[in-house]
Symmetry: C2
Subunit: 87 residues, 2 copies
Amino acid sequence: MFVILVYDVGEKRVNKVLKKCREYLTWVQNSVLEGELSEGNLKKLKFEIGKIIKTGEDSVIIYSFQSTKYSTREVMGLTKNSQDIFV
Amino acid sequence: MFVILVYDVGEKRVNKVLKKCREYLTWVQNSVLEGELSEGNLKKLKFEIGKIIKTGEDSVIIYSFQSTKYSTREVMGLTKNSQDIFV
């Protein structure tokens, strides 16, 4: 499935969260990663993130879509990291 | 359609972009807004954003999904702005 992950975490944990997420997804913009993930890998990623973040301070939103059919991804301005899954 | 908008823009333009996007979408996290938008309103929003951003410096990614069927939205940690469209 296609996953979009956005995070807003404390400065001390940002690098750790980004490093972990980059093992599974592609960085596309400040605090935003996306990519195709199996159900199993998404579970693993959530488990890993859960070990890093402070749930009372940090926020991670994970959108997952079974299909990217009938959907679009448009970039206005700079493409910080090209990602043409939607083509 | 369901829209997720993420932005990474110059400091001078952040407030303007956020203010404009909030006319159409719900702020859910730092640099992330989401919500249901008609095709027409999405076009208007893009036009408005285009007048604000500097395309050579700023980056806005707009994901739009015809349906949120077969998709999930999960928050780990803090819910900065509750948004239960997926229920």
